[in-house]
Amino acid sequence: MSRIRRAALALAATGAVLAGCATDTGSIAAATGEPPATTVSGLSGQVVAMRRLTRSQYLNSIADIFGPDIKVSGRFEPIVRPVHEMIASGARASSISPAGLEQFDAMARNIAAQVFDETHRGQFVPCAPANPAKADAACASKVLTPLGRYIFRRPMTTAEQAFYVRQASDAAGPTGSFYKGLELALSAMLVSPSFLYQVETAEPDPASPGQLRLDNYSRAARLSFMLWNTTPNETLLSAAERGQLTDPARLEAIASHMVESRRFEEGVRAFFADMLLFEKFDELAKDPVVYPYFNQELAKSLPEQMLRTIVDHLLTRDGDYRELFTTNRTFMDRQLASLYQVPVRKSEGWQTYEFQPGDDRAGILGQAGFLALYSHSGRSSPTLRGRAIRELLMCQPVPDPPGDVNFTAVQDTSNKAMPTARIRLTAHRTDPVCAGCHMITDPIGLSLERFDGIGAFRTTENGARIDYSGSVDGVDFMGANGLGKAMAENVATTQCVAGRALEYATAHPSDDNYRLVDALEQKFAAQNYSIRSLFLDVATLPEAYQVKLDPLDGGKTSISLAD
């Protein structure tokens, strides 16, 4: 059972002091079973950002609030990723289209129907309606008020509370069912912008008169979505209610607890899936004639291997971020074992695996997921791989080819005189128009040429032996092992992840905050490049919670980090 539902149950069933995650004291809300409507936060604060929930944040929220046995089925409107930015930033600009809301509505009704069906209603309805065929406002209020606090990530305002109770009553009439009434009121809550968006509100900042800072409930949601990729639990909501999240010492204590929790794994997975553009795996397809081994099962294992490596190295082993590019430890399942041509003991599931140095599979860049994603459908691409490494892992955007580029110097794959990508690309790079950008990308990607378009190992292309030398920023090396070492030694790598962590938290690209990112990177270095420390530093960074109102922008607010 989920943490939150456990808490909800405690509220519902006993009305006693809250058990579960609320560590030290039970809140007044828990003791009375009905949190008071707030005037401090809720909708009365200045809204400074509306960030649309991602698919996984929505799914995790539902599972936490109602329990994992409540199934969610439906399609999620994708959030548009602004080029060179994170989906977290795109979420801040994302609106909901008619087709998207239609889907959210269908999902909401489906969820609400399960929550109040005969199997589940006992867990959420602490009272018996006077007549189950009619409205009962008092009982509906006892159900919807605590649920509303979890769904909106803050107590409902008095008006909201009255509103949803009235919805339940209005709907109980024509349907002839108290529970149908609850169901419809709950589905309305689940399509409300207050649920579908993480609404960030601000209050005057006592430390900087005239400026705003995120208020307690917005901090609770931010910490929770950033570190656990889910909705705030009872501990966070209670801490927000007591005003602890604007107290630096309490904030630090709570955030430390969160990065030490097992649930931080979900946050780390979501962060890297965003940073590494894993949504591209949804559209990954390979030519079945060229790569008969490629199938949809394999396509699912590719990102999972990368994420397992990341979690194992950065969390389980508390490893140095830089060694994510050099580690030989990884995980295999049967699908991957045949691609990598290695033996597996088990016929199902995942097992640990350690590459030998001679395998040249160091780090996440030597893994098939990365290699296959940045390839063409029927062959490898040093340019795509080099570009992805520059842009995603070093945060160095590579310009698009100019619109009027002349492709006459481009490669001809059927030309017998040019059997390898290196030879073809060299021909390409001699064109001065193309050289500028290809010099940035190709020497990196060429070191990975011993891996084909799905990441399988090879030593020749079209019968010619592959030269796998490469270079990045003046450092020459050989193969994936050499590339991993060069990446680990390049400061752009650690600066990049620090900047991305800040962007992920604030939903603003950190490009304009060099000094802040530099400072974060230095602390990161001082803590052996531990990802836990980095996320803790971002989560407790006062600047990340400061809100500047831009006077030139006609009332439009934007969060800009103090620099």
Partner: protein
Amino acid sequence: MAFDLTRRKALKGLVNGAAVAVGIPLLDVFLDGNGQALAATGARVPIRFGTWFWGLGVNPSRFYPTTTGTDYEMQPELAPITPLRHKINVLGNFNVPLDGAPNLPHRSGGVAVRTGRAMTADRGLPGESFDVAISDQIGSGTRFRSLEISSSGDPRNSLSGRGGGNLNPSEVSPAAFYTRLFGTGFQDPNSAEFKPDPLVIARRSVLSGVTEQRQALERSLGSADRAKLDQYFTSLRQLENQLEVQLTKPEPLQACLVPKPVADRPVNAEIETVMENHKLMTRLLVMALACDQTRVFNMMFNNGASSLTRIGSTITHHQLTHEEVLDTRLGYQPEATYFLTKIMEAWVDFTSALDGVQEGDRTLLDNTLVFAHSETEFAKFHTIDNLPMMTAGSAGGRIKTGQYIDGAGTPISRVGLTLQQVMGVPLDRWGSKSMETNKPVGELSA
């Protein structure tokens, strides 16, 4: 945005009453006078608008007619349209001036056609696409304001939206598209039975309540978030409409024949799969139009930087256009052009399917205005002036058809302006900077 408070209030008042359906008048939009009378029922036939997009342009010298008007000589790449050429216009030689903004390959051209603006950065649409303006005009009364479809997968493959982070995502699965159109919530207009569902009445009341909360939500919002909330409530209005439609006995529609369910099948960019998915979703869309479930649609055959593949080829359609050697004997790239042949085949299949449905003395195609376009002229060089465009159908006789129209290098936004005017959007000027224009394409006026 105005909401019909009276109807909602009226409905709410009737929530506990038995005779709800009887009390609700036919939606105004059903009586907007846009159509001609249908002999069978005396009801009006609606006029529809849609787009049909394909990526990677054409081989210009093998596509464009060399003379204007209706007697043009057919070029080989255009030849597949021959059976319907009298219902189709071909438009060429309109330019996309970018005013110094970069030509973002495979993005800038299509976006300029649809928004009348140059993209300055790849952050979604730089403004509202004109199909959305048309759907605001004619689409707000039906169950779906518009339907977006991508035959080659990827829900993000769409050029329709209000700008910035607002993009109408595309339906990619024929089976899911079927369920959305003809599953729960669909009412057969020709069914004799009609009984309003009390659950729908209750849901309608709940959603009206959410709209009434709007003011409370809007307090203390910045303008960017206010715009998002506006879009949210526009979307909510569609949901309310869907319920209103379910509570209203539909007018019989002669042409509406409810199709059979579609089985789950693969969705990917392999050309034969795409052709089949396009055909299936076209058939469903045609019936969605004939059954008046929507009046606006956007069909993406493939994406701009086309990821179409062909079994056995190591690279995609997009890479072929850049990397395949120009065959000097043929004068074009044969492998890349193979995909264009399939695209034209699909376009003719699409228009023929619309033309195969009779509505009174006209066909569904006649009562529709379909605008087809690509995002580049010649993909090998990413050229965006002289983008290939076509129209099919006459919007119920509102435009002339059968011609090749030469834009003489004038801005491409003239086409978007004209189409919006034909569909009743009240504007006399459209586009920004060098693409701002008040000169519709006169040749189209009937």
